[in-house]
């Protein structure tokens, strides 16, 4: 989602990341009941402590990233994509 926005729609990196987050909300929200209906289990007891930590992290991360220069953020994203891509090729799944 992020590379398509930046490379194809020419959206600035910061906005591409923030917009991707906004799109993930409804997709994940719809995904939980779909996943559960399809027979997958969801352990809300364990999701709770993860979410408690994560909302603080997400707040601080989204605040901090706003202060990063565009090029720096773009290169961080590029390195993460490269690692994720290589992982897919070397150890699929």
């Amino acid at each position: 989602m992020v590379p398509l926005q930046v490379l194809w729609a020419k959206v600035a990196q910061h906005r591409a990341n923030g917009t991707a987050l906004a799109i993930i909300v409804p997709i994940a929200l719809a995904g939980v009941p779909v996943y559960a209906l399809a027979g997958g289990e969801v352990d809300f007891r364990l999701a709770a402590p993860l979410a408690v930590g994560a909302v603080f992290g997400a707040y601080l991360g989204a605040r901090a990233v706003a202060r990063l220069p565009e090029l720096t953020l773009q290169r961080i994203v590029a390195v993460v994509l490269l690692i994720a891509g290589l992982k897919q090729l070397v150890v699929p799944g």
Partner: protein, 119 residues
């Protein structure tokens, strides 16, 4: 039990920070934290990760929005493209072998990385 919770809160914090910076849901870290840290099976870990992604991405998106980093004009279009892409991806996964899909996706990520780096 309590120790697991503390570790999950810490892993969640780390995942949330990565989520807020990179604009990803956080599943990349949630899933291994649940399988390796809490001993869940892969499928339950994925569903549980999905549940944790909801509040994480919500807080990240609201914060990014306050920083002026959400492109509102593109939201509806992107949501439609995302939904169509999710269905198309699921349909493709039924037709194509997983090994082919992961390699195509991996190649897409590497080409994207190159495109972003040289901009």
């Amino acid at each position: 039990m309590l120790l697991t919770d503390v570790l999950l809160v810490l892993a969640g914090f780390f995942a949330g920070a990565v989520s807020g910076v990179l604009g990803v849901g956080g599943g990349l870290i949630f899933v291994p934290a649940l399988t390796l840290g809490a001993g869940l099976g892969q499928t339950t870990a994925q569903g549980t990760s999905l549940a944790a992604i909801v509040p994480t991405s919500l807080v990240g998106a609201l914060t990014a929005n306050r920083e002026g980093n959400v492109l509102r004009s593109g939201l509806v279009l992107m949501a439609i493209v995302g939904a169509v892409g999710a269905v198309a991806g699921a349909a493709l996964a039924l037709v194509l072998p997983t090994a082919v899909l992961t390699r195509v996706f991996g190649a897409f990520l590497i080409v994207s990385a190159w495109g972003l780096w040289r901009r």
